[in-house]
Symmetry: C2
């Protein structure tokens, strides 16, 4: 939609935090999601985390890390009751005293392309009582903390939290630099607490861009101080975000120092927008624009006639002008694919095309009995976009739109952004992908279970090496179930893995008691049919 305002919030960290792993993953597999780039070593040992286990960093003055330490401490020890915290720990169990984090670069600037790599070694080669996490930037370290937390578990026998798979040596980095999730607060309002919990959950899957589709045709919840009547278009007087709220979300993910001032009420023009959302990309929309009403609206019709524009030319003018303003302020424009389809040759070279329709170009072949409409589907739009020299973000609606409830996680997982793109340069122009949680049938009651666990499948496709993800979904099934349990233990209500989007569990859990009575080859259905 042309009027949509979207905020791309780059995520360094999350905001809140529970652990003690529920394991479906095979014992020998290190149950980290998404799959790390390289596992140089992994063993079958465990180390109990000492009672005074510390997270420490060098340099030790990095604010982003201090708050992350507090957050991950809570996550790692989630299953520790206060009673256990003060109990005597037997001295005979080998213990880990600390996780040391070493950052090479003091630069905390967060932008697309920032170095997100890390290495996690347990034990530290130089100190058997500590674990070592090294990273170029603080953002790599945050991913390393997440990985560390995922291999920690509460031991119900010793009643201590352990780090497992020792000795372990993980070298990790993302495959794509842009790994996004779109949320839509126009079709349904999402309270700030819900938005924050979505951000928390993204960090668990190492997604790094929140595309906050904050306003659209249905409602306009955002305050624009220079146009104070706009948010009268909110659903109710309270279903709104102040500019400070939007800042708070961005600030909450790490960058207070980039804000102008707490009392800033300057107009939200692009210059101010650039201050409010200090990221390089600005999503200028431009999809599914219906210009028919422009001709019916007298002053717009007059303006079109005055400029000798068709409605379509007016739309083109609007998009190109918005691009110029964004570029003037140093922002890289992102536009939905319709702009490329309609006037791609006029778009600025810097434009990043956001692709949502994989069925392009298609040729209508006629009707069939079984499919209603018969198309010959072309190679997809993304190859055309990068062939024309534009960068591209992939959000194929048939498999990466989370509001499509009939798409199972396997389809999310299998969607390869580089399909039909073979040239090395063209491949480099695909900067990543984004799963989209359009909000028509999503509100605070169901947003998490519609996003999760399916978004996690896409997250692994975007993070892990293609050589691994191309091997199929059956080998990752149990690890994804483990990740779903991790989400739930951290308070994120992820839906069952083996159902379609957002579907509730149909039966009592198929494990434990039932397991004893199941016969070889049983499915849940056959088991229940016999019982």
């Amino acid at each position: 939609m042309l009027v949509a305002i979207s905020i791309l919030v780059f995520l360094p960290i999350a905001l809140g935090g529970a652990s003690s792993r529920i394991g479906f993953a095979e014992e020998k597999e290190v149950p980290v999601w998404p799959k790390p780039h390289s596992l140089l070593a992994s063993g079958s040992g465990s180390l109990a985390l000492a009672e005074n286990f510390t997270l420490r960093s060098s340099p030790d003055s990095i604010a982003t890390l201090s708050s992350a330490f507090a957050r991950y401490r809570e996550i790692i020890f989630l299953h520790h009751s206060i009673f256990l915290a003060s109990r005597q720990i037997p001295e005979s169990i080998p213990q880990l005293q600390a996780l040391s984090v070493r950052i090479s670069s003091p630069d905390e600037t967060l932008q697309i392309g920032v170095d997100e790599s890390y290495r996690l070694q347990i034990p530290d080669p130089d100190d058997a009582t500590a674990a070592l996490l090294t990273a170029e930037t603080v953002y790599g370290a945050l991913h390393g903390l997440e990985t560390f937390s995922q291999i920690c578990a509460f031991n119900f026998t010793t009643k201590m939290t352990e780090v497992r798979y020792i000795p372990v040596d993980i070298v990790d980095r993302p495959r794509f630099e842009y790994r996004g999730l779109l949320i839509d607060t126009s079709r349904h309002y999402e309270p700030l607490k819900i938005v924050r919990s979505v951000i928390d959950s993204m960090a668990y899957a190492k997604l790094n861009v929140l595309h906050w589709h904050i306003v659209d045709t249905q409602s306009f919840p955002l305050e624009i101080p220079s146009f104070p009547k706009l948010w009268n278009g909110a659903y109710t007087g309270a279903e709104r975000y102040t500019l400070e709220d939007a800042k708070g979300i961005v600030e909450g993910v790490g960058y207070p120092e980039l804000w102008p001032s707490g009392n800033c009420t300057q107009p939200l023009d692009v210059s101010n927008f650039a201050k409010t959302f200090p990221f390089k990309f600005m999503h200028l929309g431009g999809d599914e624009v219906d210009t028919t009403c422009w001709k019916k609206t007298r002053h717009i019709a007059r303006w079109l006639a005055h400029n000798n524009f068709t409605a379509k030319q007016g739309y083109e003018y609007f998009v190109l002008r918005a691009q110029k303003i964004a570029l003037k302020y140093g922002l890289t424009p992102v536009n939905w694919e319709e702009t490329f389809n309609n006037f791609g040759s006029k778009l600025n070279n810097e434009t990043i095309i956001h692709n949502w329709s994989k069925l392009y170009p298609y040729v209508f072949l006629g009707y069939s009995h079984s499919w209603n409409l018969l198309f010959r589907i072309g190679p997809g739009l993304a190859p055309l976009v990068v062939g024309a020299g534009f960068k591209c973000i992939v959000s194929d609606q048939d498999v990466w739109y989370l509001d499509h409830l009939d798409v199972p996680w396997q389809s999310f997982y299998k969607n390869e952004p580089l399909t039909n793109i073979t040239g090395e340069h063209e491949q480099s122009l695909i900067i990543g992908g984004e799963v989209c949680m359009w909000g028509e049938t999503v509100d605070p009651s169901d947003i998490h279970q519609t996003i999760w666990p399916r978004a996690a499948a896409a997250a692994e496709r975007l993070w892990s090496p293609r050589s691994f993800t191309d091997q199929g979904t059956s080998q990752v099934h149990s690890r994804l179930k483990t990740f779903r349990c991790l989400l739930q233990q951290r308070g994120i209500p992820a839906a069952p893995v083996d159902e379609l989007g957002r579907v509730s569990p149909p039966y009592p859990a198929f494990n434990g008691y039932y397991k004893k009575y199941a016969q070889a080859g049983d499915t849940l259905q056959s088991f229940l049919a016999r019982a």
Copy 2:
């Protein structure tokens, strides 16, 4: 189920906390849920909460209140970003400096029947700059804090949090002393973080008893130190609760001083159970017991023969013996209605009967075309229970079982526990009711949206005067929608009000933008059909 272990946790408080009200309730109505007993006064004024607004108590050393103050502070100021917290507040807006809480009794013992009444006056008759909350016990004060938080809202124009409906004078107390919610962690495991958030949400609706149906046939997640193999029946090694976890839940709701010691690993016999769960009631189950397998199990069959018992007599022996043990430790036994139906005359007089089958006694009349089976439904079991002199908790499965997804909130609301009970003494034996969230199709992904908002409807039936609740549901509809939004803003994913249990919103919110274009008499369907 006979083997079920259920924990009844009396709730003084909740554990975590978001506000700034979304208003559907008519402006003139004070949007508190459940409806307070008496509204002595309410106006149309507002007072901004001062920047240094304080919650204070006399006496000031009550630990339960201190933690509640921290919690409610967060809830009341939920929509305040950190930017707003430090801004200059214009002096011309009338401000409230404090809420003063005065408790008459220092006794913090929490048991059924504790005085839960409170009075909330804003402004304090003796101090125009403060609000006054008076209560007999700390538990009444906690309800008063909840009420206060429900009439606070973020003002999007002044960007300050206000308390509204000033001057206001609310005198409130519950109609029934037992207002419960059952959760079932046997059919699906619920992580501790989820259990805690359920407890949080109960406090918002002034429910006061968590009936934690912790183990059953499907899985045995609870640690019983004297029988350490029992929790091998958990679904997985991690889907368990240590005894300390269970204690932590109870402790989290307020009573660390009642615990024996942090390292207590004594057997969970009744004596220890009484220490772990320091409440007067002990739910001993006894429903839906299938004794056929007893006859097939050799050592049980031998024991039955030795005692000259039928299986049914063995079941009776078990229940009555468990009752005796409970009574020996000063606990009041609660048993499901089957015990009353089968050997009611032998139950101890103190027994509280938990009634779930309203269709009793029924007479089978034959088949009909439209109803399949035709019954003449009797007056219900509860009248028989109280007629026999037993106390009774009502959980009519046709309208108060939350796993019945086809039951709308209106049916929850209309269920009157005193139906067909007219005598004053018999009425006094109905101590309250409980909505039951059986866990077959409920796990962390959908527990909240299956419980809420329907449990809130029952909560008002149990709290508010019958003279009000008997007036029907249409007058409370908009206030319930407001309460649902309050739950969502506090992070509880309550489902849409106007759908059946757990159903997602079918369309974008029907408000704001759409409202402008709706015609008189439009339903959502007719509106969308035309659009």
